[in-house]
């Protein structure tokens, strides 16, 4: 007997390779398991990337407000390959959010949450929420102005909870104000609490995948009947099953490798996100924006009617959570094929389109004033009367330019005024400035008559 063979037998006797491990990795799966089935394993691969790069980052990151930003600066600009590791962690987080969302959508569209895999879905939905929790808490660890104000916004949102709002807000900021305890608590949540829960749930999820088997691709006209499904599934495996290793797993490996390659290439070429200004509550000239995976939610708060906002802030996440968690228990039988479930397809398409549109809107944020509009181009004011020229200065200084565009400069909140002089008469302009309306403040009582006159001279000259 060769040395290698003897070593294998020695290990086999102690680890149960042939009796406990091989049957698991070679367990049969339906032959139809195709490339749409790789997103779950790719999410797991992304999670493992995140754990490894997270551990590396934690070697140098200092989770205290007086040092966190500087330690990230060190990681990014001084530490050997620190920028690459941070970049992988950042793009890995994005990859994980995208992959788990696609995995969720695929399982929903194929009805894989139905009998007997209700708990697969349930644990998967919890992992989806935890992934979003990791994404949110991870952004905060940058401890720049975006991070600081994201904590404040989160506290304000939970603060809308009836009766216990203030207490909820205090729990989020770990005290009365955002400060020393806030970052350490978010750090512990990001690196210990949430990952521990994820490891636990991933373990349960994988156990269920192996115990119950990977769901077979749905066929039109083959609804799930809890009374007969188990027999049907085992018949599928017996008649046409293939071993998970290596017949199915190679797709998972190839795709996970591709995801890893894309993440590393992006990290190397694009690099980690720029650190913004160091978190400083006394600098109010901030422009807080969440990372892309929450910017759609950020955009919603500018677009929904204020009258339903309180209900929405609390109700929307609650409804999404309840629907996702309860779904398999109230709809665990019937058709699985998306061709027979148009509502399921519609929900996924509408949700994906809505989020895509809101991400785009959130990135433009036309509702936000532009605090750096730059000067009005000299070509616009060159031929104007002295009074209109003074009016241009009023326009720039009194907040008009923060919300209105003139010749491609300024904010997007209000109408573009580049040619307002050809649209509105002088009396109409005076009324608009003094009375406000449609999201514009009324300047009556604020702007003196001479400045109003200059401003209107300027506006009427914009033809």
């Amino acid at each position: 007997m060769s040395g290698g063979r003897r070593l294998y037998q020695w290990l086999n006797h102690r680890l149960g390779i042939s009796t406990a491990i091989l049957p698991v990795i070679e367990h049969p799966v339906p032959r139809g398991v195709d490339w749409w089935y790789v997103f779950g394993s790719a999410t797991l691969a992304a999670f493992i990337f995140q754990v490894i790069t997270g551990v590396a980052l934690a070697m140098s990151y200092v989770p205290a407000p007086n040092s966190a930003y500087q330690s990230l600066n060190f990681i990014t600009n001084t530490a050997v390959l620190g920028s690459l590791i941070r970049g992988i962690h950042y793009f890995g987080a994005s990859a994980m959010v995208i992959l788990i969302a696609i995995h969720l959508a695929h399982e929903f569209l194929t009805g894989s949450y139905k009998f007997p895999r209700e708990l697969n879905w349930f644990t998967g939905a919890l992992l989806f929420f935890l992934t979003l929790g990791m994404a949110f808490t991870g952004q905060l660890l940058r401890w720049d102005q975006n991070a600081y104000w994201a904590v404040v916004v989160a506290a304000e949102q939970v603060g809308r909870t009836p009766f216990i709002g203030e207490q909820m807000a205090e729990l989020v900021v770990a005290g009365q104000t955002v400060g020393g305890a806030t970052l350490t608590r978010f750090y512990a949540t990001h690196v210990f609490l949430l990952p521990a829960l994820m490891f636990l749930l991933i373990g349960i999820h994988l156990y269920l995948v192996i115990f119950l088997g990977i769901s077979e691709p749905p066929k039109v006209g083959e609804p799930v009947d809890p009374a007969t499904y188990d027999r049907h599934y085992h018949q599928v495996l017996e008649e046409d099953g293939i071993p998970f290793f290596p017949d199915a797993v190679w797709k998972d490996v190839v795709f996970a490798l591709a995801v890893g390659a894309v993440v590393v290439v992006l990290a190397a070429i694009v690099g980690p996100p720029q650190l913004g200004t160091l978190a400083d509550p006394t600098i109010v000239q901030a422009d807080p924006r969440p990372d892309w995976y929450f910017i759609w939610y950020f955009a919603l708060f500018a677009l929904i009617p204020p009258s339903i906002e309180n209900v929405f802030i609390l109700g929307f996440p609650l409804v999404v959570a309840v629907v996702l968690l309860v779904l398999p228990f109230v709809a665990n039988k019937g058709e699985r094929s998306p061709w027979r479930r148009p509502w399921a397809v519609g929900i996924v398409v509408v949700a994906a389109l809505t989020i895509a549109i809101l991400v785009r809107e959130g990135n433009i944020a036309p509702w936000s004033p532009n605090f750096s509009p730059g000067p009005i181009p000299a070509t616009v004011t060159a031929q104007m009367s002295p009074s209109a020229g003074e009016g241009a200065i009023v326009f720039e200084n009194d907040g008009c330019h923060n919300c209105h565009q003139v010749a491609g400069t300024g904010g997007l909140r209000g109408p573009d005024l580049t040619h307002v002089g050809s649209r509105l008469t002088r009396p109409q302009l005076i009324t608009r400035v003094l009375a406000g309306g449609n999201g514009m403040p009324a300047y009556a009582g604020i702007i003196p008559p001479d400045r109003l006159n200059n401003l209107v001279d300027f506006l009427t000259s914009l033809k």
């Binding site: 104000w149 949102q157 400083d280 907040g399």
Partner: protein, 163 residues
Amino acid sequence: MSDEINRRQFLGRLSIALGALAGAVVGIPIIAYLLSPLIHPAVDLWRTVGPVSKFLVGETVQVTYTDPSPLPWAGLTAETAAWVRRNSIQPGDFTVFAINCTHLGCPVNWIPDGQIFLCPCHGGVFYADGSVAAGPPQRPLFRYRARVESDQLQILTRPLPVA
């Protein structure tokens, strides 16, 4: 035979009960520790933000002050800011606004010439007296209590204002 089964049942239940007790012994202090932000009594302090003469009538200026109980490692976050408006020459006639928009807490910016506060997040606008001028906010700017002591303006700190 039945005694043996009963003994097994007893040992099984004992193991579960002792395990739960062990969990409670460790878990209760941990949960209490995690909820400690709620247990601490609120600390409100008067903080001096400058001599009264520093503030001109009709002007709104930003002031900074130290949080009521900053932790040693809080760094810059030990400080916070507020907007102070001196309404008249009368001593003590000040209005102090939190910097937080009443929509979702982002910092509002004062535009002196336009006499408005603008919020960078969702476009909330407030007039100089803190009332809502435009945008999503439904409430006027939060206010701090202010007083004058020994010719110094002081403001009473408060927790992060929540709508």
